[in-house]
Symmetry: C2
Subunit: 391 residues, 2 copies
Amino acid sequence: MIISILGHGVVGKGVWEMLQGNPLYTVRNVLVKKGEKTADFMTESFETVLNDDSELVIECMGGIDPAYAFTSKCLEAGKSLISSNKALVAAHGIDLLEIARRKNLSFIFSAACGGAIPILQNLCRARKTDTIEHAGGILNGTTNFILDSMDRLGLGFDEALAKAKALGYAEADPTADISGMDTMRKIMLISMVAYDVLPNSDYDIEGIQSVSAADFSAADKLGCTIRLVGNCGLSESGRLYAYVQPVLCSRGSLLAGIRSNVNLAMYHGKNAGDMSFMGQGAGRYPTASAILRDVSSVTDGQKQLLGEKCLVGFACNDAKECTKKFFVRTSSSTFASLSEKIAIEKVLFEEDGKKWAVTRPLTVSEMHRQVSDARRRGLEVFFAELQEEQA
Amino acid sequence: MIISILGHGVVGKGVWEMLQGNPLYTVRNVLVKKGEKTADFMTESFETVLNDDSELVIECMGGIDPAYAFTSKCLEAGKSLISSNKALVAAHGIDLLEIARRKNLSFIFSAACGGAIPILQNLCRARKTDTIEHAGGILNGTTNFILDSMDRLGLGFDEALAKAKALGYAEADPTADISGMDTMRKIMLISMVAYDVLPNSDYDIEGIQSVSAADFSAADKLGCTIRLVGNCGLSESGRLYAYVQPVLCSRGSLLAGIRSNVNLAMYHGKNAGDMSFMGQGAGRYPTASAILRDVSSVTDGQKQLLGEKCLVGFACNDAKECTKKFFVRTSSSTFASLSEKIAIEKVLFEEDGKKWAVTRPLTVSEMHRQVSDARRRGLEVFFAELQEEQA
């Protein structure tokens, strides 16, 4: 099979390397940025790729512009598509799928969610014979590295972020990671594969910007640590929900055991029960290994990861399943202002002018809305879902 | 697709239930034991299944006789085969595969290893584009339940086994589980899929028969617990190794986090890195869910899990990768007799007439041989591999 690659960064270079010496595949062209052509197999011209004889294009450029224009043109030109670009798939996956179906081409994007972890392919397979009741996990290695460093090394947020940057685990601009948006994009892909629905609005996202060293000390007193977790699922009424938020989880739990930049993807099948997959969620060779598995799947004839009829749009967040208790912190002076709006079950600690408490059960959307309102009123608030006790 | 099922026990009944109402599949016959036919769809005659119009037979009988005769006849008669029977596949998988290939039929057995965990299908996919450096895990729920109960509830071995039986987690005769043989059969299947080699001799197996409540107390002093783990892999010289033995693992490690009867399957891909899969390793619906995924794969045209050329036989156990330190316990009075043969690095504790120590590094096969010799001399010995420190 003749393949061309769009992009020669961390992932693209890994894919190129791994395809060398494989007798089944020939790499025709690799699109590089202007001024970066250093070898014959590279081209700076997208037209060269578009007009070459490749049957399959692997997109590892990242970003939406020009990745969307390039990938849609490649599909229209009759080339199958593999992408590792979660922003592209979350924004335009359904448009690309529509072209792929019309042209009877493959469009697969396993590496866009979970890196080396084969969560999308396994969901795609499981949903055919089981009901996926909920799915999600720790899907961003940057934030997990920061949280784990704060927990185990006692670092403050800024120090932990600096360490992540120094080790190459965080980008120069880490906003998409620490805001939770990167996790939500992966939840979108999981929801598309598990439920045929792309939740493109009405989701609730809380990242890790508000977490402090003092919150980890408070968590530790409860025998807990903090992780950032994304979720989606079917409510009892059959509606979909999706959200990202910190979770207070007990030491010894699976979530707490996810260290450094490791990712955890989970689903609960009605028949299979709880299924968990752990591995490297990013990095050159782990991500490239997922792309190579997709190349093999395309060779075997796989056309897509999504169901017949994937819809855009979604609702919910008032579902019964989304009712949780929360661990919440604000300053002692503003605590009354918060507890007026959010019913508190119990104040846990008061220290250095801060109070930590547990709320009564409320819906995720109500909690996010109330915290957002409180912040608009000037309150500093950190909150995390209380993980339910496990067997 | 028309399907017949051999067996109507825990798994067979689950498969039958899950296929009801699915418009893609019709169950023609279900083979039950003599005297157990209670419905029209059941038959007590294997000839009825052999001569029916089913294209696919699902074998959930367990055991080798008559499962091997029945499944080979079904393949010869032109029916594809799915099996959840690890004893059958470990003993005759290569013979069955040979018939399936000759007749261009499917033969898949995902449910025979790991229950709901899709380890074999993921290895089958991963090995096409990555090098599987080693694989294994906690592959027997019965022994994990016993070890976890001893650890968390402080039970003795007999009490924990009785509890496992009472809850249906252990069979009336638990020998295959507690001896480690069940884990080794699953390692055989993993090795077949990952390496095209069935290790059918020369492997080392230590089960959990020798573990006592006092060993858990000793482990706890080190911040550790005990798990039974199976392994196979490629040595630096390219030879294969396979063994099953208890592991002393630190609390907070992934192994220690596997609770109750949950299973953990792992592999290390040269490119993908460490991949771990957790889920239910047994039980009606989890196992049936794996069979249903296989049914879907056969529908999609998958023929097999194994490589082109699967070999029987294997060697190794003196490989460099199999050199470990061990946690070892014997009575104070026989300790000198043991330490004459196994170099001890450090005595850890002495209590109630027993000594616990750590050995110097030695190969797995040397350790198993020396302990076996010591037991022939009348010594009571418990040992467990010391898990290497993780990041």
